[in-house]
């Protein structure tokens, strides 16, 4: 993640330029040498032709007035050391200014075509050129081998100049492409910078869509950001609503407390005091329960981590919860029961929250049903996974009980003692386990709340 786009782009550019530049240089050197050879071989050729032209046969033996121009051409403007050798048909020397190292193979080749060769001579390298000339004479027409040679300093100098030119051009190209790259990179990164500025300059409570002009490749990112903002906005709305509701819920019992205490204070009758105290006791109990549930809900909003998950015997958990509730006063008038499969059901989960979930469901069932209602908690396993459910046969007027999941919905029974948070907590816990919370009415009457855990329990939940 820490890798810089600029740096990696620059690195790639360097690698490409290095490889390409290396190749170009090798090619440039070869072609420069070729060009230099071509240019100066031309001068060798001109010199040999010039000398050949000067050969005459006045009286049966070759005569030659060595043309000064030929030697000057041969020397080139680099003032090479120059050598020549003219050999007759019988191998006899006509004239020369040195003994050139001409191999037999070259002597054979020259009969077919003019030859060029590089030879070593007196510790320096020479470029050698030879041609065979058949000159027309009145008495003889013998072929003459004309050999010319010069040192190669000029070729090297010329090649170096040519390569130097290429090198300069290459360096210029690198510089220009480098600059272009820098500018292009700037231009490319400009939308990102703009995006960053927009994000940085944003107010905390501004969840509107980002209005930034970005290229198509970045559109996906801004769309995702917009989507995230939208979701966060919704989440925040829900949170605000929740806080407002929670405040409202807390205000009612607190107002009751105030009223009762005020009434009691206005009276001198100890019996009234006692009644007031009792009311205050009940109301404060409800309030603290409400506060505890709010705390739970807040706690559930944290992400669950893998470390919090453990293998849980769900069957035992249901059994223990039922036992726990059966002993309480609220359950006196109800018929609590369990429907568990024979073998224990295990799943990956968070022990405290699952315990809370079952507790909440039982509490809800007890709270919102009349006496003598049959309440059954159970676990069933099918192809889709494990289901934890609680059902009752109490009256239910709601056709879409799914909406009760929202906090502070009390199944249309605003007067009852519930906090309205029970199902919301259940839904949060189910969500933490990747489970689905389903509420449905029963026939002829009653409600079924089912928590459908995915296959393998909460194994794949993070």
């Amino acid at each position: 993640m820490a890798q810089s786009l600029k740096r990696s782009l620059a690195l790639w550019w360097c690698v490409i330029m290095f490889c390409l530049g290396g190749l170009l240089l090798i090619e440039a050197w070869a072609s420069a040498k070729r060009s230099a050879d071509q240019a100066l071989d031309g001068q060798l050729e001109a010199a040999s032709l010039d000398i050949a032209e000067a050969i005459q046969w006045p009286d049966g033996s070759p005569m030659l007035e060595m043309p000064a121009s030929a030697l000057q051409i041969l020397a080139t403007r680099w003032q090479e050391r120059v050598f020549y050798q003219l050999i007759g048909s019988q191998g006899e020397l006509i004239t020369s200014n040195t003994q050139l190292p001409i191999s037999t193979r070259l002597h054979q080749q020259i009969r077919l075509a003019p030859v060029f060769a590089n030879v070593e001579f007196q510790g320096s390298s020479l470029r050698l050129h030879g041609r065979q000339v058949t000159s027309a004479g009145w008495e003889t027409q013998e072929p003459v081998e004309v050999w010319v040679a010069h040192t190669t300093e000029g070729r090297e100098a010329l090649a170096q100049t040519l390569v130097g030119g290429t090198l300069t051009r290459l360096a210029m190209t690198m510089l220009i492409t480098g600059l272009i790259l820098v500018f292009v990179m700037r231009a490319w990164l400009m939308p990102i910078r703009r995006l960053r500025q927009v994000l940085r300059g944003r107010k905390l409570d501004d969840y509107s869509a980002l209005r930034v002009d970005v290229p198509a490749e970045l559109r996906e990112l801004t769309d995702t950001l917009d989507h995230l903002l939208e979701r966060q906005d919704q989440h925040r709305e829900a949170l605000l609503r929740f806080i407002a509701d929670a405040s409202h819920q807390l205000r009612t019992p607190l107002a009751g407390l105030q009223n009762s205490s005020e009434l009691a204070l206005g009276s001198t009758d100890p019996e009234r005091w006692r009644q007031a105290l009792e009311t205050i006791y009940q109301a404060s109990g409800r309030t603290s329960r409400l506060a505890a549930q709010l705390l739970n809900l807040a706690r559930l909003r944290h992400q669950v981590s893998q470390a919090d998950l453990q293998n849980i015997n769900l069957s035992a958990l249901v059994r223990d919860s039922l036992m726990e509730w059966a002993d309480r006063q609220q359950a006196r008038g109800h018929d609590l029961g369990a429907e568990l499969p024979e073998e224990d059901i295990w799943l990956q989960g968070e022990a405290w929250s699952l315990h809370e979930l079952i507790g909440n469901l039982i509490d809800n069932a007890l709270r919102y049903t009349p006496e003598n209602t049959v309440i059954t908690a159970g676990i069933s396993r099918d192809a889709e996974g494990v289901s934890l459910w609680v059902e009752d046969n109490g009256p239910c007027s709601e056709t879409d009980p799914q909406r009760w999941i929202a906090p502070f919905e009390r199944a249309g029974l605003q007067g009852t003692e519930g906090s309205g948070l029970g199902l919301a907590i259940v839904a949060s816990i189910a969500e933490r386990h990747g489970a689905e919370l389903k509420l449905s009415t029963r026939v002829p009457q009653g409600l079924r709340v089912c928590v459908q855990f995915p296959q393998g329990g909460a194994d794949d939940q993070a």
């Binding site: 060595m66 041969l74 003032q79 004239t95």
Partner: protein, 359 residues
């Protein structure tokens, strides 16, 4: 020989004014600079350049470099060439006026590259491959005795000379001398160069043959012959020697040809197998230096090449006096053609035929 001494002595006297000053100013400086590097060395120079002409240059170099023992060997061009090729141990510096032979030696690899401050700045037309350096600028002239002027209109161009030889055959019989192409490297170069410029050269050679012209091996021989009255007219003589000679020999008149005048350069190179290369580089550097060239311009008739040198004998002054018909023999590969054995043999054959031709 007496005259030579006079010449040398006069030169030494006349030149002391300017260069004496220079010497006094430079000597301590140079000595200080060289003090640490000083170690005794013998510098062997093979030179086709008269020692008594060259002496002021050698003397100043000696004075500047007391750690170097000079061994200057004054020889003919032919001997210098032979010694450069064969002497063991090889000489350190080779100086000759036979430019083609020097270039051939350098081309064959007998020279080595000189890289000093002066050599780098030396004009390109007066050096070859940074190895061979032309350090003088000597015009080739005609010289005649006053006797000739009394008898006929003296020549001022090559055409005049030809006319003169044709029209005054009787008077000039046995009284004309020229450089021998056979026995001298300079003579060979000059006559071949003449023949390169114009085919009328052969008419001139034939005309010289008609008057049975002598072929001398050196300029001095020609000058002495002129002064003694043996010759009336000398063709292709080194202007440097002739001009100084004429100063003290009023009977001799020097004529720089008005149509064209060849200019020859003495060339020097450091031998590849020089035993004392450091000293040799110093010597060549000195020849090309302002100091060395000033001595040449002031105390020798060798004519300095450098434009920044002032004196009676400088290339610039010669150009001013003679005009733009000076033809310096270029120091390039074309000179090699002149030493091609076949070409040279053909040339000498033709020369001899032309000289011997009877009408």
């Amino acid at each position: 020989m007496i005259r030579r001494k006079t010449l040398a002595g006069q030169k030494a006297g006349s030149g002391s004014g300017l260069s004496g000053c220079v010497r006094r100013a430079l000597l301590p400086l140079l000595l200080a600079g060289l003090g640490s590097a000083a170690h005794a060395e013998t510098l062997i120079i093979e030179g086709a350049l008269d020692r008594d002409v060259f002496e002021p240059v050698l003397a100043l170099f000696q004075q500047n470099n007391p750690d170097i023992t000079l061994d200057y060997r004054d020889r003919s061009t032919l001997m210098v060439d032979t010694f450069a090729r064969t002497a063991k141990p090889a000489p350190d510096v080779v100086i000759s006026s036979a430019m083609p032979w020097q270039l051939a030696l350098s081309n064959e690899g007998f020279s080595q590259r000189v890289d000093t401050e002066e050599s780098r700045q030396w004009p390109a037309w007066a050096k070859w491959r940074e190895e061979l350096f032309g350090f003088t600028f000597e015009p080739i002239v005609m010289a005649y005795r006053l006797d000739l002027a009394a008898a006929m209109q003296p020549p001022s161009t090559h055409q005049d000379l030809l006319d003169l030889l044709l029209n005054h055959r009787e008077e000039l019989q046995d009284r004309v001398v020229t450089y021998s192409p056979l026995n001298s490297g300079i003579g060979d170069m000059l006559s071949q160069q003449d023949a390169r410029y114009t085919p009328k050269m052969w008419d001139l050679v034939e005309a010289m043959g008609q008057v049975d012209a002598y072929e001398a091996g050196s300029s001095r021989e020609m000058l002495e012959g002129l002064s003694s009255g043996k010759y009336w007219l000398a063709y292709n003589i080194l202007g440097s020697y002739a001009m100084v000679w004429a100063l003290h020999h009023p009977e001799v008149v020097v004529q720089v040809p008005n149509d064209y005048s060849l200019v020859m350069m003495r060339t020097a190179f450091v031998h590849r197998e020089a035993q004392h290369p450091e000293a040799a580089f110093r010597f060549v550097d000195f020849l090309l230096s302002r100091q060395g060239q000033t001595v040449m311009a002031g105390e020798t008739p060798l004519f300095s090449v450098r434009p920044d040198v002032v004196g009676p004998y400088t290339a610039q002054r010669l150009r001013d006096e003679v005009g733009d018909h000076l033809y310096p023999i270029p120091l390039n590969a074309a000179l090699l053609a002149l030493v091609d054995p076949l070409r040279r043999a053909a040339f000498l054959k033709r020369w001899q035929e032309a000289m011997a031709r009877e009408e």
